[in-house]
Amino acid sequence: MIQFPRTIRIFLQMLFFFEALSSSSFALETDILMKAALDELQRSSQKLRISGAVKPYFIAYGIDDFDYFECRTMLGAKLYSYRDKMRFLRVNLRVGDYQFDNSGFGEPVIKWFNLPAEDDYDALRHSIWLATDHAYKRSLDTFSKKKAFFSNRIAVDKSDDFSHEERVVLTENKGGRLKIDEQEWEGRARSLSALFKNYPKIQSSEVIFRVLSANHYLFTTEGAKIRTSQEPVDFGMHVHAKTQAQDGMALKKDFDFYGKLSDPLQLNSIQNSVKALAKELSELVDAPFIENYLGPVLFEGQAAGELWRKFFVKELDSSRPQSDSDSNASHESSLVAQLKHKVMPDFLTIVDEPTLERYNDQPLIGFYHVDDEGVRAQKVSLVEEGMLVGLLSTRRIRKEFPNSNGHARFGLYQEPRARISNLIVESSRHRSAQKMREHFLELCQEEGLEYGIILRSLDQPLTGIRLWPDGREELVRLGNFSGLNVRSLKKIKDAGGEISLYHYDANGILSSIATPAILLNDVLIKRTKLTNPKAPFAENPLSE
């Protein structure tokens, strides 16, 4: 694979950026939604105020315009399908000033509204007018409460409530309506779900197909004017299956595939993954249960990505927590206190790179140019040779990070928080998969263990592979991790083997994690349940 040196890649992105900017002025004129929002924004910024009360110093309209289709299937039959057009407006209206405003005080600073799905100037503007009015009144209310609260208190971190950032103007071509042959895709989901008919040991299963075309807008009184429509992926195929083991233990497995309608569909590869999932889950029914395990665990494939997601990613948000009536800092990320400290072994380096579209020639789904607060996406160095050097930030800054690095991402009806985009974990030890296993077995031997546990996904309860010293592999059922947290990452003993990509969708926020396999020592996995449900009253009708 040929990879551009980093500097060249950044240069290429900048080029794209400016190109998009220059070719857009024509399309702007015909975008009724954009015109309605900009006109109302201008009027509100000039005239919206209650005499005697503080006026808005910042107003932003974010609009998500979706054309959506979903189809849910099981065992070869459609449960339902539907098509919807939806528009959501989020108003971020701030009163006071950048230093001290209504944000960060219990009440969400972003207010969500529905907008008409049709491009009708009058109706859109009317809705935006009412939404802005409501948001202003709520912001005033919060502002007065917050002012009263701070009349007796001093903030420990005196950073501005809202950071000053460079203005971004970016208008991609407007995305059209969703063009999809619904019946064809229903058929695909149906036939994938029908594969489960051959696995009567699985009690229930579903295949859900979701696809959307979207336009995202952001307009602010600071002059940001953004329209993006290029999604890294536009559809997802989600597979869930559940069953019970012989001893009654509940088992489940999931699998998600993300892709673009415009790319040739890798139906064969999805089919194979579904079959592999079904086969594994069926075999797990009779697999032995290991109640307790303490020792090294090798995280391969998706499990390595999930390990980062569960125990590292959610601690990366550096934005200052809310200063609500309870003044304790317990909600703060524990990584903030570990800045410039070693948090993992020195062979590991981690970056988050939103503008990266592919890694190892594989598409990444966390890709974007501008974040949800209108800040240009930036590559952030998080860990350098084991040392924590950076965190993700939004415009709700803290003294350690006085600016946003373009990582504010919201799910529907959520508050802005800093989240990862494409997290790239690299190891300076270029070990082969074979070498990883050898190292793993050595560690097991040192610990005096008869066998070691390899995990390939972190579904609950955990299931994995028991690796015997002679290389024999055996499918096993396990309990759950006990006591594992971000500080456990210091016990990573090795990283290498094949680089795998893990993609996930958390509340509509897409992210990718690229990582080598991880060998972590001193992992405790113990049983979580004291009872299991009995087997069903009758055999699965599929086995009749």
Partner: protein
Amino acid sequence: MIRKISLSIFCSALLWIPSLLCSSGFVIETIQTELQKNFQKLKKTENPPYYLSYLITEIEEDSISANYGATENSSHRKYRHLDTDLRVGTFGLDNTHLGRSGSHGNRRIESASIPVENDPPAFKNTIWMETDQAHKNAVERFLKLESQKKVKAEEDDPSPDFSPAPKQTFSTDVSSLTFEKNQWEEKLKRWSGIFKSYPEIYGSGLRLTAVRSMKYFVNSEGTLLQTGRNHVRLTIQAETQAEDGMQFSLNKTFDGSTLESLPDEAQVSDNIQAMAKNLLALKSAPLAEPYSGPAILSGRAAAVFFHEVLGHRLEGHRQKIESEGQTFTKKVGEQILPAFISVVDDPTTDHLGGFELNGSYLYDDEGIKAERAVLIKKGILNNFLMSRSLIKGFNRSNGHGRKQAGYRTVARQGNLIVESEKMASESELRKKLKEEIRKKNKPYGLFFKEIEGGFTYTGRILPNAFNVRPLLVYRVFAAERPDQLVRGADLIGTPLAPLSKILVTGDKKEIFNGYCGAESGSLPVSAAAPSILVSEIEIQKKEKSDERPPILKPPLQDPSAK
């Protein structure tokens, strides 16, 4: 008051003719086969069920909403739900036992999505999993209840949790609603655009829903029922705010079974103009003051009043739940209303005075044929709304066990109809109101014209009260002067007092078609009543927001907005 099961009722059921069913025969046949098979297999378990039923609800819904001249949303949905009612124990005591605290925590029933496509493996698999879950839950709950019963004091009403019922077979099919969606989208857009000429009306909109619903029911008693219903509803809604922050919202609904039964362009337009005028009048109307005195409730207002005050308190299961207020439980055979008033709940009729009734059905959700229940006969309490859960003195269902998909059945209203033998014309009614005002030496009386809906609290912990939310209330003066619209009045009270104070009624019934929410979910209902004159009713000030009206003018009306 002797109640025997009358055989004739059940013999009149139509015979089930499979050939009529064509494609949809699949659903009823499949759930019947699976029921027999699963019931047999469960019989061999340690705690076998004594009753099992499957209900599949199939909904096909088109919905369009428009506001300010634009389509807000337009959607089409089709889905099916499977509800499993599995009972362990005996008719006397089973896992559904309500106990002292009532149905809390037990309102939901095992319920799952089932394919809209007629696919045997998917159906069998879903039914199997749901039956297993229902059985596990039922066994656990029953064993707990059974041992609790031994250590707790006897309940006031130890009536059985369930009652046997004869087998029923009936099948009908309902054709899909033909629906020119584009045309209707255009209509709704056009109509919603009328509000643009009323800058002081801030929010407004129209919604059209067209629903075809089918129900497929089988049980271990051999009952097989396939019923269906088409329902269309057009809603017009608009709101504004007075300078002091009080918000007003008016709405108007039109219900029917076909799109053709909805009003035409001119009628809709008239309704919108009238609504707009009323809203503007409300905005500048004087505030209502707390008041107690004589009043007329229009037919629709009276209908909601009866639904809340009387109807909910006559739902059978409330008579044996000990946390309920039980206003009427021990009043059977007693006079609770003036002797000229009778009240029935009649789901078997679907029209009244040329209008369609929303609460009609052929069979209830427990497989019982719907019956006209005479609740109040010449002012005397005669019967309750009964499901298959029995109460003291009432040992059979009268076909009022109803529920929304996903909920457990309780007794509910269908079409509540108030009949009167002491009627007066509208003008006489007004005359009598003025007489009352003079007699009581009141400055004015009240006329409740339109009503949004209401709610009632039937329990014991909070005061046992009702609240009816009027939209349009007028002061009526004894002297010759026009009625005066007032704003911000809520009609309140405890249930017994106002019922006994009805003096006379109007001579024309009005219908309130709506949806009623209670323990067993949201259900279509109707209430019909003539207008009533009551000697005393109480209103309180409506809760109001302190938010001021929008600061900027509507964009369309702001000359400086480009």
